[in-house]
């Protein structure tokens, strides 16, 4: 994969107004992630790592500072453009899976294609291939409630990669899983990285973080440590 910055943050800060007090979740993040990197975001709870992931995924905008995704300053992109960006360039994996409970595995996986106006036939085909890729061939018709935790997370990963995004963002993807299953999920993410995807994983589990080739530690809204292992 070609190197070069995929994500670039300069002085990014994020404040929330909760009731009367303002919470400063991020205070001046400078960060550059190149294409093809596998980054782990670590830190104690409340350190701001999830907030940072949300900003990276364009789910929320920085209160201050600049964030460029693939060279484009995010704050200049209109709302519909951000939606398109989220749908086409970014794949999300959440700790609590966030599958729609009444849709089958196949329908969950194809959801991003629905909003790209992809035809039903192609949608089905690509969703089937994605489920195959995460080892869920033959489970297409199951509802999330009929799947184990690990299988649900695989469906979520299939959904994240269905648009062949440049960036996969995972927030505690193994947090709700046992160690063995968590290991399988991490192996899957590592495999995606090996295929050239840029992956950013939020975790507080050191063993999970070991899979990444770059580990960022966040404390009190700042990057406290930035170590590359490879």
């Amino acid at each position: 994969m070609s190197a070069g910055p995929l994500l670039e943050l300069q002085g990014v800060a994020k404040r929330y107004a909760t009731g009367r007090t303002a919470v400063e979740a991020l205070r001046g993040i400078d960060l550059r992630v190149d294409r093809g990197e596998f980054v782990a975001l670590m830190g104690p709870s409340g350190s701001g790592k999830t907030t940072l992931l949300e900003i990276l995924g364009c789910l929320s905008l920085p209160s201050e500072g600049r964030y460029s995704l693939a060279g484009r300053p995010v704050e200049e992109i209109p709302a519909d453009g951000l939606a398109k960006l989220r749908g086409e360039e970014i794949g999300f994996v959440f700790q609590s899976f966030n599958l729609l409970p009444r849709l089958s595995a196949l329908e969950n996986a194809e959801l991003p294609l629905v909003y790209r106006r992809v035809g039903r036939g192609e949608r089905r085909e690509r969703a089937r291939a994605a489920l195959e890729r995460v080892g869920l061939g033959g489970r297409e018709r199951h509802l999330p409630g009929e799947l184990s935790g690990g299988e649900r997370q695989r469906v979520a990963i299939a959904r994240a990669l269905i648009n062949r995004p440049r960036l996969i963002l995972a927030d505690e993807p193994t947090g709700n899983l046992d160690t063995t299953t968590g290991g399988e999920i991490m192996a899957l993410l590592a495999g995606l990285h090996a295929e050239g995807n840029t992956v950013v994983v939020v975790t507080h589990d050191a063993r999970v973080a070991e899979r990444a080739d770059r580990r960022l530690t966040i404390r009190d809204g700042r990057i406290a440590e930035d170590r590359s292992t490879h």
């Binding site: 999830t50 959904r159 927030d171």
Partner: protein
């Protein structure tokens, strides 16, 4: 999102709270059925009033001679006026706006059959009057030009006049006396029923004879001319009522040498004017407002149910936004869901409303209350109102849904 997905989601929203959904749907069903039923019923009321008023003669105007008004002549010589055959001929030649013009003679006469006698409203009529009144002959024949030419002593009896005058079993061919003169009953008029407008007696109580016979056998005491008591006309179009009256009055005034606008000299009345004054549209309008309000209340039910559903589906909405849905995709989805729920209730409501209209018609109570008249336009109106209600009910929930912040709702719990 396909349309089918949206409908499925609408059903899911309904299924999530069964008893509440039933109440909500009931509101929409009831409201829609009300729109259909009340509007059809209003249509029926309007039709009943129209028919009732038109029973004396469809789109008919009646003209009678009066007395020159004080505004046109000194009180001392306010002369009385009367019409003659020559005036009617003049009017027939000159008037353009009436479609038909007829001459009528009237008198209260003693009608007798054997030992029975009644005081009857006897009308001398010509074929035009018969056409304007439009009452079919139930038995025997009508009065013809030949009857007029030969001044025959023949009579048509209204339904009640026959019941009062003739013995059971007697009918066409019976000999009766009118004002002492022998007449033969040649025809019986069909049942007319309750009139909302009448001139003296109801048609059912009248006895009709040829006008020439009446003029010959019961002449006026003040003149030798053949007197016509009233002119009846049918206007070409209801909307030309005033113009027709103005023309007829002006022509007769010219002929009788009175003021062209003297309403005391030439009196004109039309049941079309009564119809205009009753303002049936307003009755229908009030019924429409009542019905639509009921439906709007049903819409409020849909809106609150949707708001609740949106609150419970924040995570789903957040996720859809995260995987590429634009705000307007979400807006459209929620609006369509609201429309879907409303459509479900609406289809049921239209069914019930139509069934109620049909059911009332099968009870055969048309003599007691007006029957609803269902027109396609009423169903179309109900559909338009439903689309409005469904969209409006979806607006608040939809705008609430688009304000979901994905970052907040997707956070791990």
């Amino acid at each position: 999102m396909g349309l089918l997905d949206v409908l499925r989601q609408a059903l899911r929203t309904l299924a999530a709270h069964r008893s509440r959904s039933i109440l909500t749907l009931f509101g929409v069903v009831w409201g829609t059925a009300s729109v259909i039923f009340l509007m059809s019923w209003g249509e029926g009321v309007a039709l009943m009033i129209d028919r009732g008023l038109m029973k004396t003669g469809k789109d008919m105007g009646q003209v009678w001679p009066g007395r020159v008004s004080e505004e046109f002549t000194p009180a001392a010589d306010r002369r009385w006026l009367w019409f003659t055959d020559a005036d009617i001929d003049f009017l027939r030649r000159r008037a353009r706006l009436p479609e038909l013009l007829g001459a009528e003679w009237w008198e209260w006469l003693t009608a007798a059959r054997g030992p029975r006698s009644i005081n009857a409203d006897v009308r001398g009529v010509d074929p035009e009057v018969l056409a304007i009144r439009g009452v079919p002959v139930a038995a025997g024949r009508s009065i013809t030009e030949a009857d007029l030419a030969h001044r025959r002593r023949v009579a048509l009896l209204g339904e009640k006049a026959r019941q009062r005058l003739l013995a059971p079993g007697e009918g066409v061919g019976t000999r009766i006396r009118l004002g002492g003169q022998p007449f033969e009953v040649v025809g019986l008029l069909a049942h007319v029923g309750t009139q909302l407008s009448r001139d003296r007696a109801e048609i059912d109580e009248m006895i009709w004879i040829p006008i020439t016979t009446a003029q010959t056998h019961f002449p006026a005491w003040w003149t030798d001319e053949p007197v016509v008591n009233r002119v009846l006309y049918r206007m070409r179009d209801r909307s030309l009522r005033v113009e027709t009256e103005t023309e007829v009055r002006a022509l007769l005034a010219e002929r009788l040498r009175v003021g062209a606008t003297d309403e005391e000299a030439i009196g004109i009345f039309s049941s079309v004017e009564m119809l205009e004054e009753i303002q049936v549209d307003r009755i229908v309008g009030v019924l429409f407002i009542i019905a639509v309000t009921t439906l709007l209340v049903g819409g409020i039910g849909v809106a609150t149910m949707m708001l609740d559903a949106i609150h419970q589906r924040r995570r789903e909405i957040g996720l859809r936004l995260a995987v590429g849905a634009r705000r307007r995709d979400i807006l459209l989805q929620i609006l369509l869901e609201s429309l879907g729920i409303t459509a479900l209730g609406g289809v049921l409501g239209i069914g019930f409303g139509v069934a109620a209209c049909a059911g009332l018609a099968r009870l055969h109570v048309e003599d007691l209350i007006p029957l609803p008249v269902l027109r396609p336009g009423i169903v179309a109106t109900a559909v338009v109102v439903l689309v409005f209600v469904g969209t409006t009910a979806g607006l608040l929930p939809a705008s609430r849904a688009t304000r979901v912040a994905p970052a907040e709702v997707l956070r791990n719990e």
